[in-house]
Amino acid sequence: MIGIYVPGDSLLHHLPAWAKVLGLVVSCTVLVLLGSLAALAGFSAFVAILYVVSGVGFTAAWAQIRPLRWFALVLFVMQFVLMGLDTAVVSTLRIVLAVALAGLVTLTTRFADMMTFFERCFGPLRGVGVDPFRVSLLLSLTVRSVPVISALATRVREAQRARGVSWSMRAFAIPLVVSALRHADALGEALSARGLDD
């Protein structure tokens, strides 16, 4: 599985994860407070410069914004009808910029670095009985399970095709869920056998 991270050597890549997340929180707050078109235009330039500095490339940048394209269009039209052009531009731009900025943090931060940052944030939870070892086991088991379950899904679909069954969601999902559960329970037993319950 490939993360969203784009390797690079820019200033943003070298900043620690906590600094980038803090910067994101501050920038988003500023973004919410900015109301005028001119201020937002300035902010857009700021975001564009950050993207150029990061050197992640246009494709990666567009991939962050792309999921918003239809929503942004519908929102713009609705705002335009309800509240006029200025409000429509400001609020649509605000959303696109917030997503672009947050995306940039992910694009320039390794998955492992971000996880380490989260782990540190959840550190205080140790006091209420959260076991950090179990949490990281849970997370890494999940990452490992994605290709396993994906392979199960392919197998169920191929078996269906081989029998010439016409497409049926029930006939696909039930075997998939049952075999996923069997896999999970076998995995649980294997973990217990290795002494993880103690």
Binding site: W70, I95, A102, L137, I174, V177, A180, D185, G188
Partner: protein, 199 residues
């Protein structure tokens, strides 16, 4: 759950189930995994997975499975439908729908757990509709209104197009959960916790 032995609050078998269901929800959103509607409508089966997690794992395990998935997405894995992931998801307008998965899965699980060792199809449908549609919209629409600055009614209108698909998914999730629980009785939350208690 196990007040008498706080050290085993988190049995290893549950850990495996939680991570496998988190992975299942992710796989249901993978491109090419399932294109039921021919990819024309941006309807994903991930909420279907959320409802299944609730109906099969029970409330707190299902909520934990969703939490694990959300955490991995936030850290930068593209596990949401269409390969989305990263912090951009959390500043976007649909973040409420994503965070609504948590209480949604928990409510679905809670209702199914109340059904004891043989939850009927009616209960399953109600549980999936309440948790997988009701709660998710309850969180999603106000957040969307807040992010976009639209009035609540207009924000609700934006989501209207997704309601028929979501209702269909809830019914489908109930049917699939029922079939799974018939084939594999340990997929019933109450039966599973009985078995775990018995050791």
């Amino acid at each position: 759950m196990t007040n008498e032995s706080p050290r085993r609050r988190f049995p290893t078998g549950d850990l495996a189930r939680i991570s496998v269901f988190a992975a299942l929800i992710a796989v249901l959103g993978l491109p090419g995994a399932l294109n039921v509607f021919g990819n024309a409508v941006p309807i994903t089966l991930q909420t279907f997975g959320v409802m299944l997690a609730g109906a099969i794992l029970g409330s707190w395990r299902a909520a934990l499975a969703v939490a694990v998935l959300i955490l991995l997405v936030a850290a930068g894995l593209p596990l949401l439908a269409g390969g989305r992931g990263g912090l951009g998801v959390f500043t976007g307008p649909s973040v409420g729908f994503l965070l609504g998965w948590l209480p949604g899965a928990a409510l679905t699980g809670w209702i199914v757990e109340r059904g004891g060792s043989n939850p009927g199809i009616v209960r399953l449908v109600v549980a999936c509709l309440a948790g997988g549609v009701g709660v998710i919209y309850l969180f999603g629409i106000p957040v969307q209104a807040a992010v976009t600055g639209l009035p609540l009614v207009q924000a609700a209108l934006l989501s209207l197009a997704f309601v028929p698909g979501d209702v269909a998914k809830a019914v489908l999730a109930a049917v699939v959960a029922r079939g799974t629980q018939r084939a594999y009785p340990d997929a019933i939350p109450a039966v599973h916790s009985e078995r775990v208690k018995a050791g």
